[in-house]
């Protein structure tokens, strides 16, 4: 289990999606939490797979602090089928008809934490029970249960007191754990708001385009620069851009984008480019073409990226 601070740093780096959305990573919600992953079919085409419905159900119950209606999963299932049939717009319409409330910061954080807990080995049943929810509805969605998911056998007794998978927090502590993370996240947000004279905004290129060009790249800034979620969607979610591998290596679209930006910045500096650019860069062995513009103040803007 990662420590609270580590989890919150990971959380800070994620872009937010208030509605369910199908991206290159799968069906995502909140801070990029994947409810249904993207797999590949025998011809290498991406296929959306709602392979572990109990997990999705438990994640959503944690996010919204109550079990969701079964039709939500039915809509997700139908959206996956439509997306796999190439009906992307219809798939998103079905997701919209699931009528989930907007996933705000608090719901997104709950969802994120629930995902981390399941990743650490907590079963969906344990997650439901720990929050006082009846786990019985999980039986109704077990038809698609992934047998590969680590879980304790029924009657083993371990589920009653401990996380599975080696984690060591009492089940009774789940609610406290989530509450503690929420409180810490709120404190961090408050600290940020109370520091108006903070010397450097998270992303000076966006926040203050009139500022002087930075002397050196701010590669060591602790808080990752915020990147527009639409930009990430534009660049990374188009299958023709073939950037899934890069995102997987960096762990998130934001981190991959920053790596591309850093490589571009270096190349632009080396080649002394100004104005519009169309250059090739290499990021961890991936050869990419990056198009964008160098603004008058020296900041670098990225338009698009493709292999």
């Amino acid at each position: 289990m990662e420590q609270t601070q580590e989890l919150l740093q990971k959380w800070d780096a994620r872009a937010r999606r208030p509605r369910m959305e199908i991206t290159g990573e799968g069906l995502t919600l909140g801070a990029g939490t994947v409810l249904a992953g993207m797999a590949k079919d025998e011809r290498g085409r991406p296929r959306l797979a709602l392979a572990d419905e109990p997990r999705a159900f438990a994640l959503l119950a944690t996010a919204y602090e109550r079990p969701v209606e079964h039709y939500v999963l039915a809509k997700m299932r139908r959206a996956a089928e439509l997306w796999n049939d190439g009906e992307k717009a219809l798939a998103h319409i079905h997701l919209a008809h699931a009528s989930l409330p907007p996933c705000g910061e608090e719901q997104a954080l709950r969802l994120f934490v629930a995902d981390e807990l399941i990743e650490a080995g907590v079963t969906p049943v344990a997650l439901m029970k720990a929050q006082g929810f009846d786990p019985a509805p999980l039986n109704l969605v077990k038809a698609n249960f992934n047998p590969a998911q680590p879980r304790w056998a029924a009657g083993s007794g371990r589920d009653s007191g401990r996380w599975s998978g080696g984690a060591n927090i009492d089940l009774a502590g789940v609610k406290d754990f989530i509450a503690r993370l929420l409180l810490e996240a709120a404190r961090r947000a408050a600290r940020t708001l109370l520091r108006p004279s903070e010397p450097e905004p998270a992303n000076p290129e966006v926040v203050n385009p009139e500022s002087k060009p930075p002397d050196t790249p701010k590669a060591n800034t602790l808080t990752p620069p915020k990147v527009d979620a639409n930009k990430l969607h534009h660049i990374f979610d188009n299958p023709r851009h073939e950037l899934d591998g890069l995102v997987a290596e960096f762990g998130s679209q934001e981190a991959a984008f920053e790596a591309i930006r850093n490589a571009t910045r270096e190349a632009i500096k080396r080649q002394n480019i100004s104005g519009m650019y169309d250059i090739e860069v290499e990021v961890r062995g991936h050869k990419l073409t990056v198009r964008g513009t160098v603004m008058n103040d020296g900041t670098i803007k990225i338009g698009t990226v493709f292999p």
Binding site: R43, K88, E205, V206, D228, A229, N230, K231, H233, H234, I235, D237, N238, R240, E242, G275, M276, D278, T289, R291, G292, T293, M295, K301, I302, G303, T304, F306, P307
Partner: protein, 136 residues
């Protein structure tokens, strides 16, 4: 107000305006093409085309991307860029992108221009084509 379709047509006509065989063939494809899908990403767009197969493909059926046309639009301080992709000798899609600004819902096209406002050197443009993996 400029419509999305009008912007795409203006960009394609400027991109495919050339005397070389490559541009002539692609322009004929554009005239016969239909839009099959359009995705607005919030930071730009992807518009996909279908070209009837009775229209000739580019010799050798190459796959590549290029885009030396830029736009000044209301609502985009830094303007927009475009990338046209040809798949196996046929027009495939046009991508429009902003430079890290939200794509405006409503806009007016102010002007289109080639790289660095220079007059176009077709050979140079053809040499700048980025080879792409064909889409099956």
């Amino acid at each position: 107000m400029t419509t999305q379709a009008a912007l795409e047509n203006a960009v394609l006509e400027k991109l495919l305006n050339g005397k070389s065989e490559t541009f002539q063939i692609l322009f004929r494809q554009y005239q016969a093409s239909t839009v099959t899908e359009r995705e607005m990403t919030g930071a730009g767009f992807f518009t996909y085309f279908s070209v009837p197969r009775e229209i000739p493909a580019l010799p050798g059926e190459p796959s590549f991307s290029f885009g030396d046309v830029h736009a000044a639009l209301t609502g985009l301080k830094e303007g927009a860029g475009f990338l046209l992709t040809v798949n196996k000798g046929y027009l495939h899609d046009l991508e429009g992108y902003s430079y890290e600004e939200p794509w405006p819902r409503h806009f007016e096209l102010i002007r289109l221009f080639y790289d660095k406002n220079e007059s176009r050197n077709e050979d140079k443009v053809i040499k700048s084509f980025h080879a792409r993996k064909p889409i099956e």
